[in-house]
């Protein structure tokens, strides 16, 4: 990843996370958006299309669409058609419950990519988080999508329930000709309440880091650079991409640095009314985010691999930006206690970036 080019400042994000609605027909206990009912002030169809026109003008390459459940919106297919007509790639995160055979047929398009959420390889683990019957519905959705040769990945949020089933999830995905994508659990939305119950312990996170380095075929949506090892360096970002490569648009059109920082203090503007170029280049929120430096991490041997980790996790756990990610690999290894890493493990983790 060309960090020095990114640091020069891009003309626009390459990817925008767009949460199209707060409405959802499930009530996952870890939902980052606290989704449920549709909320007032969500953008209507015309406003969404205006917003897509703006993003196309700025040559945003890709939309990562989530919610809420995007397919709850009656106009959702119309909206992604509008994006595709302008050449924007859409990566849609869905719980799969509304992906019927007919919807799957309708979705078949070269610019569409689906991520179906499964938070375990078994109904027991998955349904404990996502609700009764959600496992079976997600599997049916994947079958429908694959029948139309649509590119699919299984998206799993890493929790204490999904962690023991990661190998099974890899196999499950492979059985469908799909990839596994593991996302980081963050304490935003309803995740704040579920954090202490579901978040991995430091030793589990350290073990996960080793697991990831053995499974280079598993993608992470760039959410685990805080714990990923040298082996994965070429697979994605080694820093937070918020306000540099990406940003988030909420269902109301409010623009934030990322989906996990949808707090009033981080709102940089609102689309389609505000000038997107001004938001991206000149908003004080984005400007300060780009200048964020995790000074206390700069002498760490892993700094080149993570640049201080995820600011959102640091913010939600410590209520302040500019602090290190408390769950970085160094911290995880440090608090692992009696089973401290051997010299060999340290070498493995640090790769060639040991001072």
């Amino acid at each position: 990843m060309g960090n020095r080019y990114v640091d020069m400042g891009l003309s626009a994000p390459v990817n925008v996370t767009w949460e199209v609605t707060y409405a959802c027909n499930l009530s996952c206990v870890h939902c980052l958006s606290d989704a449920g009912a549709r909320r007032t002030q969500e953008l209507d169809t015309a406003a969404c299309k205006s917003m897509l026109d703006i993003l196309a003008r700025y040559k945003v390459f890709q939309l990562s669409i989530g919610g809420g459940e995007p397919f709850v919106r009656p106009d959702f297919l119309e909206l992604i058609d509008h994006a595709h007509r302008q050449g924007i790639v859409t990566c849609i995160s869905t719980n799969g419950t509304l992906i019927t055979a007919e919807v799957a047929r309708r979705l078949a398009h070269p610019l569409v990519y689906l991520q179906v959420s499964l938070d375990g390889a078994t109904p027991a683990a998955n349904d404990a988080i996502r609700g009764q019957g959600s496992f079976v519905q997600a599997i049916r959705a994947i079958e429908n999508l694959r029948r139309h040769d649509i590119e699919v990945s299984i998206n799993t949020v890493l929790t204490r329930l999904s962690f023991p089933e990661l190998d099974q999830l890899v196999a499950l995905a492979a059985g469908f000709g799909a990839k596994l994508r593991v996302s980081r659990f963050r304490p935003s939305g309803r995740g704040k309440q579920a954090w202490s119950d579901l978040n991995l312990s430091p030793s589990q996170l350290a073990a996960f880091s080793q697991w990831l380095s053995r499974h280079l075929e598993v993608s992470t949506g760039d959410s685990f650079f805080s714990v990923s090892t040298e082996e994965r360096r070429s697979l994605g970002l080694n820093m937070c991409g918020a306000c540099k490569l990406t940003c988030c648009i909420a269902p109301t059109g409010a623009v934030y640095p990322c989906a996990f920082l949808q707090e009033p203090e981080f709102q940089a503007g609102r689309l389609p009314h505000d000038d997107f170029g001004q938001i991206w280049h000149d908003s004080p929120v984005f400007a300060s985010f780009r200048q964020l430096e995790i000074k206390s991490c700069e002498r760490c041997y892993r700094f080149d691999l993570c640049h201080g980790g995820c600011p959102a996790v640091a913010y939600h756990t410590q209520r302040r930006l500019g602090l290190p990610d408390p769950e970085c690999l160094v911290n995880c290894i440090r608090v692992r206690g009696p089973a401290a890493p051997t010299a060999l493990e340290y070498q493995h983790v640090a790769g060639t970036s040991l001072p």
């Binding site: 990843m1 891009l10 390459v14 890709q62 070269p110 610019l111």
Partner: protein
């Protein structure tokens, strides 16, 4: 490489101008390519309207160089981009 070719972006590839040069996005992945070309080649070159030779002949004055030198430089760059699957002629 053939100077008589016209170049276009394959399906799923997009490009935009940035301060450092061209930023390519390939849907099939790996997704992003940062190509530090400065202002050597504009994105409009990849619409396939001109051969490389015609483009170099018309653009050389802007770069204060000869069409031949510009042509050599651009053909080298296009060979690299084509090898990565980002353009085809």
């Amino acid at each position: 490489m053939n100077a008589e070719k016209k170049y276009v972006l394959p399906a799923g590839v997009q490009v935009r101008q940035e301060k450092f040069g061209l930023l390519f996005y390939n849907y099939r992945g790996p997704r992003l390519y940062f190509v530090p070309t400065g202002d050597l080649l504009p994105c409009s070159f990849f619409t396939g309207q001109q051969t490389v030779r015609d483009w170099a002949a018309a653009a050389a004055w802007r770069y204060k160089t000869s069409p031949e030198r510009l042509l050599t430089r651009v053909l080298k760059l296009l060979a690299l981009l084509e090898a990565k699957g980002l353009v085809h002629g």
